[in-house]
Subunit: 568 residues, 2 copies
Amino acid sequence: MTLFSRKHIDFLLHEVSDLPELLKEEYFSGHDRETADMVLDTAFEIAQKEIEPHFVDSDQKEANYENGEVKVHPGVHGFVKSQAESGLLSATFPEEVGGSQLPESVAGAAAFIELCHSNSFPMYTDLLSGCVKLINSFGTTEQKETYISKMLTANWMGTMCLTEPQAGSSLAEINTKATPQNDGTYKIDGQKIFISAGDHDITENIIHLVLARIDGAPAGAKGISLFIVPKNNPKNCSESNDVKTIGLFHKMGQKATPAVHLAFGAEGKCTGYLLGKPNQGLPQMFKMMNSSRLGVGLTGLALSSAAYYTSNQYAHERKQGRIPGGNENVLIAEHPDVKRMLLKQKAIHEGGLALFIQVYSYLDWQKAGKEIEKYAALTELLTPVCKFYGSDQGYHSVNEGLQVLGGYGYTSDFPLEQMARDVRILSIYEGTNGIQAQAVLGRQVQVNGGAPFQLLRAEIEKTLSHLNDSCLFKRDFETSFKKLQQVTSTLLSKQNPTELLADATLYTEFLSLICVGWQWLKMSLATEQMDTEFNESFKQTIGYFFRYEFTKCLYLSEILLKENKITV
Amino acid sequence: MTLFSRKHIDFLLHEVSDLPELLKEEYFSGHDRETADMVLDTAFEIAQKEIEPHFVDSDQKEANYENGEVKVHPGVHGFVKSQAESGLLSATFPEEVGGSQLPESVAGAAAFIELCHSNSFPMYTDLLSGCVKLINSFGTTEQKETYISKMLTANWMGTMCLTEPQAGSSLAEINTKATPQNDGTYKIDGQKIFISAGDHDITENIIHLVLARIDGAPAGAKGISLFIVPKNNPKNCSESNDVKTIGLFHKMGQKATPAVHLAFGAEGKCTGYLLGKPNQGLPQMFKMMNSSRLGVGLTGLALSSAAYYTSNQYAHERKQGRIPGGNENVLIAEHPDVKRMLLKQKAIHEGGLALFIQVYSYLDWQKAGKEIEKYAALTELLTPVCKFYGSDQGYHSVNEGLQVLGGYGYTSDFPLEQMARDVRILSIYEGTNGIQAQAVLGRQVQVNGGAPFQLLRAEIEKTLSHLNDSCLFKRDFETSFKKLQQVTSTLLSKQNPTELLADATLYTEFLSLICVGWQWLKMSLATEQMDTEFNESFKQTIGYFFRYEFTKCLYLSEILLKENKITV
């Protein structure tokens, strides 16, 4: 069974997004439509061969910790190898470090295809590539030489070590210690929890990027630095660097990726290497967090897609119940309530994916060196929105898919119950959605006198200007878009910042509906090249979105405009 | 940790509901406030001693099937025994069969208390008592004598056997066969799936109530009869009646209750006894289904309560993040976004439970012999609404509780992830919520020229008439209530029944918000007797409900009034 629509992906990349223009840029001159197609074909091949066969088994045989060793599912080993050998792992990196300068929009689509088949496997390589990005951005020449080629070939892997028992959402509370040594290195001492892929038996070394506090550093967020802390000595991988697994957390889902409790320097012998500048750990790390945030949101949409195609197939095989006036049981796909549940799922990932490709293309324009500030601002504003929408709506979508299957959906005879367990973490990973919402309303909407918001408005208005006034959804959109602007200025006029931020979650839901609604309008401008079957389905889905989802703007704005917040 | 508010329950029973008047009725003369209190104390005692200690363990050690035998968690054995010995199992039954004629409203509150501590254990005894209700309503004198005392003492247990592989939501498709024998009994032949507590090692016999089709019966729903089919010969329990377990379904949650695949008469030796009239199986079974539906909805609210008290405690222990302008981490319970998540949970089960107690009191008035038709009509209308609201909103509430705990919530270190798995089935059990919605809009709202809806309207208007016009929420309520009436008449005017029913799910969500909103207004009339602490909390929760939940009426009515359904 296919778990995604290649046609929709191609439509987004080649008809809706800026990719055709991006491919004319010098930076992307190694790529064209053909190489983009090949990348997506490769991703699907890996998904079918190296991920799908292990989806259920890797859930049933959870990563386990015994005799000091963490063993992960054998399928992960094969996947990581293929991802490296195929070149997908390094694809978006510059040619100078062994990458192929693939546009992020194409790489994002490829990731989406893999994620539809298991969301736990690609997490290993996403973390790995995130680490390389950081080392490539902030590392010394020596550090780059030591780590990058080893990592981009997956001989070594990597993790992000942020969370500590007392420092979860509030990273300012981190207290892992880094004590300077005479040779310029640091002794690392502390514990980290919830470290995804924090230990495993895939590679001879694991390169941890660890947030820690140099002795005497300022308190709070301004005293946190970033360190490279290899599990084993990078010059001799048989020599331990005193990084030990204390235990694994048992999770509701995502069982192929262990969440590890790590001790650094329990024996006083853990060496770390400063990455970038002292006390700049958090802003540096956020560079990686942004792509992880997009990855988490994208995972939600991929699970929505997988759930949709699974439940859609079931709905076209299962006969049950009659249409009023009918004499015979019909396929459940013919019942309006089931149609609604299926359209909900489809609308969520198709519209959501458009927004992600939009953001990936903003990243690409920055790489191409065009209007870097503008596209960086749009990326910063939309990244938490994407994370919020993809994880939150992905969760609702998967659960709607489970509902389509009725009692069967709750059993392990079908993959929906696993998907429902897997998807549940996404609104928590990489900053809870509540935290994302604080970032949106507390920072991005306010920064530079509201400049990013104005840039977004200009982008949206560009789309609106191309739309014929006869467009059925344009008026609804414009009404709610004006409302959003009214809500935004009302909130920003509040003197009390706690009051301003009290309903940030609802504000972000509202903003995400506007952004996804914008993408549906943008998509509607590009359907001319598509065939009748695509357009019939598109018409239904955009119709569903504006009627059932976008209408929520009505009640969200009503709440947001109320005075006297009751939660303050 | 307490997982429910006894104060809120007492408030509902003794200040808000009709219970004080009901207790003056002859039928309930054996009870007063003191006995009601004792029943609730007993339920809590059983919950603490016989349920809570096994909550996690019975999830980890799933019921298992080996060598033809189903073994369930030992804790279930103890619970069933206590439930029978304490008299709770038989409490609502008439004195003539060994019950104590306890009001349903008190029994419902007691069930709620138990369900807060595990939703899988009470399912055994709920099914048992449902079976006894059916036998008591439709059985011959001999059948009553054979089964009722054995069952109300939990020497034997009982199940409902409805679903077959091809007959899930559509029971009309049932094809288990019942062939008449010369002695007046029937040979039963067929398979049933998803039978909760369908086999176990607790009692020497299990009395299955089985829907089957007598040879030559009319096709469809009108040819289905109900049979008593004991697992073992009731005259000699060591003699098998050819009812075999084929296997168990592995479920996402609710693991203490096995979902069994049963074969009746695989060896041609299964005897069934007709219960009630031939071909009246479905209407008879629906009598039991209604109380099961209420039970499922109530379970959702109980899980909401358990999730609320668990996450509320965590939020009052966990310090993380600062309030804008503050210098120190505060308890997360002080963050507005967390307050909102906690209030959401509290509003859902406190308001929802009020609606349930309302419906239980309608059942009680029927037992007391007062205005039976009126209260039966209200019960029929509100039962699917309760099932819908409790299961759907219970699910949202539990997931909000998990979110409060962040990453910890996703791990087995806290009970939230188990609650989230357990609660997920409730919108499917006893008729999916989509089916409930069809029952509401397709039957209950239309039946007898809309009489039940008019009765509900009169009930609501009675509450409104007692409210002072200065009540802040009265106006909001009245606006949406009028809208509901407009939506209802617009929908009922549709010629095409498919179009009328297309958005039944949204209609039922809308109606449920009106019903729960009504209960919040009714509760607000009764707060005078309560102390300041209760009233402060009440003010916050009702404020939350009308601001954040009730406001959804706005967008639901907007969708429901749109022409040209896109799902038809």
